[in-house]
Amino acid sequence: MASEIRVLSATGILGSGFREETLRRAMALRPDFIGADSGSTDPGPHYLGSGETLFSDSAYKRDLRLILLAARAAKIPAIIGSACTAGTDGQLERLAGIAREIAREDKLSFKLATIASEQDKGYLKKKLRERKITPLANAPVLDEAVIDRSAHIVGMCGIEPYVEALANGAEVILAGRSSDTSIFSALPVMRGFNPATVWHMAKILECGAACVVLRKYPDCMFATVTNGHFVVEPPNPEYRCDPVSVASHNLYENSTPYELVEPSGVLDTLHAKYEAVSDRAVRVSGSAFRPAQRYTIKLEGAELAGYQSLIVGSVRDPIILRQFDSWLGGLVAAVKDRIRAVFGDGIERQYRFDVRVFGRNATMGPLEPETGIGHEVGLLFQVTAETQALATALAKSVGHIAVHYPVPEWSGLITSIAYPYSPPEIARGACYRFNMNHVVEPASPLEMFRIAYENV
């Protein structure tokens, strides 16, 4: 077994970019593989629900092309996880299509493995009946109806499907939904390095250059791993890491800086040491990895919440603003009356009408402690209904009633809202909601994932 393994993280999220010059410098350090995460639940449920992607195909292609060219030239694996945001089968196929196109255009050939992570509803319902699905913190209720109405459900894979694909000679691996850290842990764990050191390295590297002192733009990150420690050093000479910047990264998007829960166990960083080895490199040691009692796969699901039409407007009249709450309350009541008059009493159960008030509490909603408003407020009228046609039809009535809603001080017809657009209503399309925060106990770590190979 080699005494060290060198890991290159191309960027924090595929499609956000990295500097070509930085990749070139990093390749000169002879990494053993290149990894990149390509997904997140952070941008919300839209990507899992609809299957659309956070970045354009052009953005994915730019990043993936440079990674594949570098990896093939050095004859090292390239590993991409959480394909195209949510890691649905469609998103995985989209990334695989981009990889094939790059191979054709740049005359590359490689053994490609794809790891599909979308879940079969029948399988999940069986697991639910067998009580092999359990909730995590703040999980909504999960029953068979929730599974049935989900648009997509993915399982977040651990290192095992990657290890399987690598053992079968895969040179490029594209995975559906994956834990971010598994992308970077699979090969080092497979080669026998201490899991505690490896998982901690993976947590620091999974966001690319996010662990530097001041990240001005997305870029690559590099780590050299031995059994007892790893050294992280940015390949971009404009960047530097210090012990606090590296330790701080454990805080990011994690509910505790001391624990990172993976399918096969928990990384415990309570006793980790962060030491400067230069003015830009940090050595990390001392973490522990506690293997899990039961192997679990986290589920992510999204379901349709309805279709929305929106109207954006603003109010500047000081007379209206002085009585803003009562004016808005009256406006909402008038809108609902008009909708009932047009669409009948039964309409009540078929839509929601909500108003967001920018300049008052649009950011924190009912939790906003400040009560004042300024010289103008922004309004967002939001209609949610079961079809886009109904949402837009209702929004048209909202727009007309709202724009002329009066105040007692002015006589005659007033126009009380400034609309920047014609027409005022904007069809937002389908909107989705995350509907599960649960883990499944599979019979084996590979059971929920389908690995396919092809020679590209």
Binding site: D42, P45, L367
Partner: protein
């Protein structure tokens, strides 16, 4: 009394998955971090009051390695749901900025 923003180099909020909201306060130096940590002005009761929760669901963790305090709460609304105001959870730390600290 100083305000928290005067002694912190970063105050932020962010999703920790779609169902949790997490706050990080990273202090300018170790000394002020220890002072604020030991005075316990960033505590479960303040968060419970501000974000209308019970103190039992608020997790407050002192993180010496980064001179930071992390607080995690259940998300008021699931990220991106119809009632959500902040998909990334990135602008929920406003009330913390002017918190008075010793």
């Amino acid at each position: 009394m100083a305000k928290l923003w005067q002694v912190a180099k970063l105050i932020r909020s962010k999703n920790s998955g779609p169902f949790e909201l997490t706050f990080d306060v990273i202090f300018k130096d170790r000394e002020i971090y220890e002072k604020v940590r030991d005075a316990r002005v960033i505590n479960a009761q303040w968060f419970a009051l501000t974000y209308r929760l019970t103190p039992e669901v608020v997790s407050v963790i002192a993180y010496d390695a980064a001179s930071a305090i992390k607080v995690t709460i259940p998300r008021p609304v699931i990220s991106g749901d119809v009632d959500d105001t902040d998909v990334f959870g990135g602008q929920q730390y406003g009330p913390l900025v002017d918190l008075e600290v010793p």
